[in-house]
């Protein structure tokens, strides 16, 4: 088991370096650099353009620029945004909890609804429940989120006035008591969480359904059922445990999404998160911000797939055996 984890760790480091080199090359190969938008303005100052290029080493060859960047990262300094001079690390630390909260809640909600529905439909494939949920979830999946978000806002916030329009807290948040604060946050979370959740229901439901379906058809389930194991126990203990591997994979794959955030939802609800930062930094070619966000997302993805791999080993003894054999 330990050798397995060590080997995975070495892969992870190599992958990490590969990802940063690739991202660095990619973002620099996109036409335009951080001063392009400025230099297109009326009365741009050539002296200022040159100063910005020099300060951010944009006038040096790419490998040198990468080394400058790497030197900072090793000491956990992602530099400052070229756009607004905010320290990139602090900016990410400020925004990341907001995105994690929003996307984490949406993911948990989608999993909490989608997985049981999927397992349940796998038990009786083709029946009414299976078909009804499939149609409903796919219908939801196909609705564009900006449209749903604006529709929800129009009805629940503008017409009925039940929920706040935008933002993460109300104007009087600081004056509220503990439970009131919680309520205020919940009200602000409601619309963005709904918008992020409905589309994922189909993914979780269909994924867990097909995983469970594979298991349910196998002989040992028939045997268990023949032995008189109850339907509930059959589903939760016998089926779910065996269907866990693909579900773990799915959860591992959703982690980058947890961190990178959603531009559309964050913009519409003015949620001060990572999605907007990512979008703006790419559009403005704000290299330090793009690189930092890529690194953070890459690390989280690697960590998640590492955890998923370890969880495989926990869930499935065959993975462990294979690891030891090498």
């Amino acid at each position: 088991m330990r050798a397995y984890i060590v080997r995975r760790l070495i892969y992870a480091v190599l992958t990490f370096v590969g990802i940063t080199v690739a991202t660095f090359a990619l973002i620099h190969s996109v036409p335009g650099d951080p001063v392009t938008l400025y230099s297109g303005r009326l009365h741009a100052s050539p002296a200022v353009i040159e100063a910005i290029r020099r300060e951010h080493h944009l006038d040096e060859p790419l490998p040198a620029q990468y080394l400058h960047w790497l030197r900072g990262v090793v000491s956990l300094d992602f530099g400052r945004s070229i756009d607004n001079r905010r320290p990139v690390t602090a900016e990410i630390v400020r925004r990341l909890p907001n995105t994690l909260l929003l996307n984490g809640l949406a993911l948990a909600l989608a999993a909490a609804i989608g997985i049981p529905v999927g397992l349940w439909s796998a038990r009786r494939p083709g029946r009414l429940l299976d078909r009804a949920t499939a149609v409903t979830f796919f219908l939801l999946y196909s609705l564009p989120s900006f449209w749903v978000a604006l529709l929800l806002m129009q009805w629940l916030s503008v017409r009925l006035g039940w929920l706040p329009l935008f933002g993460m807290t109300g104007a009087d948040y600081e004056l509220l008591s503990g439970p009131e604060k919680l309520w205020d946050r919940a009200r602000h979370l409601a619309l963005p969480v709904i918008t992020l959740t409905y589309g994922q229901l189909a993914i979780f439901a269909r994924f867990s359904r097909s995983a469970a379906y594979e298991v349910i058809r196998q002989d040992f389930i028939t045997t268990a059922r023949a032995k008189g194991v109850g339907e509930g126990s059959l589903l939760w203990h016998h089926t779910l445990r065996n269907a866990l591997l693909p579900i773990i994979t799915l959860l591992g794959l959703t982690v980058p999404y947890l961190i990178s955030g959603s531009v559309i939802v964050e913009e519409i609800f003015q949620w001060d998160g990572i999605g907007l930062l990512f979008f703006d930094s790419i559009r403005g070619r704000d290299y330090p911000v793009v690189m930092a966000l890529t690194v953070v997302t890459a690390m989280a993805t690697l960590l998640a797939s590492l955890v998923a791999d370890v969880l495989y080993a926990v869930a499935d003894p065959r993975v462990r055996v294979e690891g030891r054999r090498r």
Binding site: V30, P31, G32, D33, T36, L37, Y38, S39, G40, R41, L42, H43, A44, S45, P46, A47, V48, E50, A51, I52, E55, R80, D83, N84, R85, R86, R94, R95, L150, M153, Q154, S157, V158, G161, L165, F166, G167, M168, G170, A171, D172, Y173, E174, L175, E267, I268, F269, Q270, D272, L276, R283, G284, R285
Partner: protein, 556 residues
């Protein structure tokens, strides 16, 4: 042109709106008989988060929207965008036009109570002119500053000297938002003052919550005429639909709106009692740039012919609902440099075809595409992604061109990618827009010396007559003469068609009717000119949750 287009625009408005508001230059929302009163909290919208509270490091006009409250510029621009007293009560310009002497208001103080001294002005000028400070918005206006001859003559008199005399220089002092040297000289100028502010403006900073809001409060010890409104909350709301909804429910008091909202909601009876819809023309226009280095576009007859294939009237009627003006030439009617005698190009594809034939472009091989010396007339029109309007205009243009045998291909690029190619001269034609400065000097755009990388003359326009007029215009200190020169230049540019000028779109705004004293300035709309937003007032100081919000603002 002014008269005919104006009358035409009004006619379109009447068709669309029935009871359209007349285009009076001043829109005064003040109720008759109401006296302005002090107090209240105003909620404004910021379309993007600001980059810095340090006005020297501003990167967009949004930084300026906040800075107006916290800082006072050396000179103000009034509703006509002409220089007016700011921190300087008066000034003299030397006979050679190179030296400016400013007399500061002796009562002026910073928010920390210290007086504003001439040395503070010199400090701010030095920071602005230093390329290493990277003063993106303002540095270009002070590149000719002669620092060795710029100094404080006494506590309240500053002498500023330039290496050359330029007529456009005075207006640039509007961008000098004076910083207290005793505060901003301690620490890292570029990193330590982005979230704090000590200025000589009528408000002081209460709180900044990056990405969310900025709260400012009126200074009791303000040295000038105090504004009415007690607290201003500037909320960052990026999405336009969200902002429109927020204005509807009264969560923000003003926002820019898109043309579709303007056309759809302007006569909505439910909204009328609460929201006022305003529209005005800004210093901006859309145009098609023709790469003058490309053999296709070297001939001005060709550029004119292509321009005649753009159906600007239909574009204005269909895409803008009549809320834009046809343009021809670099200056807009809000500028004194504008030449009203220049008419927009007529939409005339048949005439365009004839004109192209005189330039040698005919369909000699009968394949439906014009050709000359075996070369077919084919080009790529670059547009910047994200604007459905730009795409629709380009597509309509493409359709008309095809009918006369010119093949235009559309390339949609993102902003930075497009600008990089265009500035490198690596494009054929591009649909773009300009935001103009209050001073009309077009030197960086059309002077022959300003081709990239020096300036933004990326159409590679180089006409000796235009060059001469541009040089004269920026040196002529007498206003009336200068206007004459630019009006001549306007005609020359319209004749040469280095651009095909398309439209001057109008800006649309909604503002809550509780906000009083709102007036329109020429070219800049409702604010940023002086007094502009500093003259607004609120008749009822409380509204809904405002007392709590205001208290929260004070507590934090």
């Amino acid at each position: 042109m002014k008269r005919s287009v104006g009358a035409w625009a009004v006619a379109v408005l009447l068709v669309f709106g029935g009871c359209a508001r007349s285009e009076a230059p001043v829109v005064d929302a003040t109720l008759a008989g109401d006296e302005p009163r002090a107090g209240g909290t105003l909620y404004r919208r910021l379309e993007v988060d600001i980059a810095s509270l340090n006005p020297v490091l501003a990167t967009s006009r949004y930084d300026r929207i906040v800075a107006v409250y916290l800082f006072t510029p050396l000179i103000q621009l009034n509703s006509e965008l002409r220089p007016a007293p700011g921190l300087a009560e008066s000034w003299q310009i030397s006979a050679d036009g190179r030296t400016y002497t400013f007399h500061l208001n002796p009562r002026a103080t910073f928010a920390d109570g210290k007086p504003v001294r001439a040395a503070d002005v010199v400090f701010t000028l030095r920071k602005t002119a230093d390329p290493e400070v990277e003063a993106q918005m303002v540095a270009a206006g002070f590149e000719l500053l002669d620092l060795s001859k710029t100094r404080a003559l006494n506590d309240h008199t500053v002498q500023v000297t330039f290496r050359e005399a330029l007529a456009s220089q005075l207006v640039q002092f509007h961008n000098i938002l004076v910083l207290p040297e005793h505060v901003y000289s301690k620490g890292d100028f570029r990193d330590d003052f982005n979230e704090i502010a000590v200025g000589s403006g009528p408000y002081r900073l209460v709180r900044i919550d990056p990405g969310r809001e900025i709260v400012v409060q009126r200074r009791d010890d303000y040295w000038g005429r105090k504004p009415w409104i007690e607290t201003v909350v500037l909320k960052v709301v990026i999405n336009n639909v969200t902002a429109w909804n927020a204005a509807k429910v009264g969560e923000i008091d003003e926002t820019m709106i898109q043309s579709d909202v303007w056309l759809r909601e302007r006569n909505n009876r439910d909204l009328m009692p609460r929201l006022e819809f305003l529209r005005f023309y800004g210093l901006a226009y859309n145009y098609i740039a023709w790469n003058g280095r490309n053999p296709l576009f070297r001939d001005k007859r060709v550029r004119r012919a292509l321009g005649m294939c753009l159906d600007v009237r239909s574009i204005i009627a269909d895409l803008y609902g009549g809320t834009a003006r046809a343009m021809n030439g670099h200056f807009v009617p809000e500028q004194w440099a504008f030449n009203p005698a220049v008419d927009p190009l007529d939409f005339n594809p048949a005439g365009a075809k004839d004109l192209l034939a005189t330039a040698g472009w005919t369909d000699s091989d009968g394949d439906g595409t014009l050709d000359r010396e075996g070369q077919p007339f084919r080009f790529v029109l670059t547009i910047i992604g994200g604007s459905p309007q730009a795409l629709a205009i380009a597509q309509s243009f493409q359709g008309t061109l095809k009918k006369i045998g010119v093949q235009a291909e559309l390339a949609v690029l993102d902003g930075a990618a497009a600008i990089q190619r265009i500035l490198a001269g690596n494009y054929e034609a591009a649909y773009l827009s300009w935001d103009l400065d209050p001073d009309p000097d077009p030197y960086p755009l059309f002077h022959g010396s300003q081709i990239p990388p020096r300036g933004q003359n990326f159409v590679f326009y180089d006409n000796p007559e235009a060059n001469r007029l541009i040089e004269q215009g920026r040196r002529e200190l007498k206003m009336s003469k200068r206007a004459e020169i630019y009006q001549q230049l306007h005609a020359v540019l319209a004749e040469d068609q280095p651009y095909t000028w398309v439209t001057q779109p109008s800006l649309k705004w909604v503002i809550n009717r509780r906000v009083m004293g709102v007036r329109e300035g020429k070219g800049w709309g409702l604010f940023l000119w002086h007094p502009g937003e500093l003259d607004w007032w609120l008749p009822v100081p409380t509204r809904g949750s405002i007392p709590i919000a205001a208290r929260a603002a004070e507590l934090r």
